[in-house]
């Protein structure tokens, strides 16, 4: 994905270290509801 965007000329690309999981683990705010199975603790 980053490679494709880079090829299109976007130069200031910054991948988020650890991705969405790291954001959630850090306890930061998220938008939207968790999936039903996750909400149920499955």
């Amino acid at each position: 994905m980053a490679r494709k965007l880079k090829a299109r000329g976007f130069q200031r690309l910054r991948p988020l270290a650890g991705g969405f999981d790291a954001w959630v683990s850090a306890g930061f705010e998220v938008h939207g509801e968790p999936a039903a199975r996750e909400a149920a603790g499955a």
Binding site: F20, G32, A35
Partner: protein, 268 residues
């Protein structure tokens, strides 16, 4: 090749079953040559064709169902773990999810013909919440098509098997040397290119704390949520302000974005 014929002749259907099972579990032991030879032996009346097909399908279904249950139990961690052995783990996960997203359960019917996807499709079916009955129906159909076609080719062309064996013997050392040298050289080249690109991205990587601070300061980074639709179904939440983004929306979504705008990308 002669060795293979000898092994199958000696151990019969048990050899076919074990070989398919080990390959489908994920070991690098190709089952295709065994199925071809089994088909040829069946044509000569030395092996039961129906038995070989039934046991190949059973072995495949057992291994795949194990992966299906593992995916259902452990979620996306399974995909990430399996994809670690690929040259580009992140692309491996994304491409697998993309493929499954497009074709769904039908992808299981052709999965065995797609290198790598064969191992990843069953856990992915488990992750996506597919019912066990639907999975088994599609998986068994796929295994029957795959094993059946290999056995059929071996059966139909059994007369040519001797020629194939002789040709492979002639290629012999040169063929093996070509594979032993050429494949590692190609893989090393790919690995270096990917690592160079990943190193460049790592240097630009932003931590979650840095992103939070950036947002608190009112700076306005463009945040792209590049998780696949399947990953979204698994967890539809997103970072505040993030835009869901797939490559096919590139022109539409980023048309008015200046090329020097800071863009934060995140996946799972």
């Amino acid at each position: 090749m002669e060795h293979l014929v000898e092994q199958i002749s000696r151990h019969g259907l048990a050899f076919v079953f074990l070989n398919v099972l080990l390959e489908q579990v994920g070991l690098p032991i190709p089952a295709l040559p065994v199925l071809l030879v089994a088909g040829a032996l069946a044509a000569e009346g030395r092996l039961s064709l129906a038995g070989a097909l039934a046991l190949a399908v059973a072995a495949s279904a057992i291994a795949d169902f194990g992966w299906f249950l593992t995916g259902r139990r452990l979620g996306q961690r399974v995909l990430k773990t399996i994809c670690r052995v690929s040259l580009s783990p992140e692309s491996c996960v994304r491409q697998t999810e993309w493929f499954y997203e497009r074709l769904g359960l039908a992808s299981l019917v052709v999965a065995k013909f797609v290198p790598g996807y064969s191992t990843l499709a069953p856990p992915l079916a488990g992750i996506s919440g597919t019912s066990a009955a639907a999975f088994l129906a599609a998986d068994i159909a796929g295994a029957a098509v795959w094993a059946g076609s290999a056995l059929a080719v071996g059966h139909l062309f059994h007369g040519a098997m001797g020629d194939v064996v002789a040709a492979l013997d002639r290629l012999g050392d040169w063929g093996v040397a070509l594979v032993l040298v050429g494949l590692p050289v190609y893989l090393a080249y790919r690995w270096v290119r990917i690592k160079q690109f990943q190193r460049a991205l790592r240097m630009a990587r932003i931590t979650v704390e840095e992103l939070r601070a950036m947002m608190d300061e009112g700076r306005d980074p463009l945040i792209l949520d590049v998780r696949t639709p399947l990953a979204h179904r698994f967890d539809p939440r997103r970072i505040p302000g993030a835009i869901r983004f797939q490559l096919d929306q590139l022109d539409e979504t980023l048309r008015d974005v200046p090329l020097d705008r800071e863009i934060i990308l995140y996946c799972t």
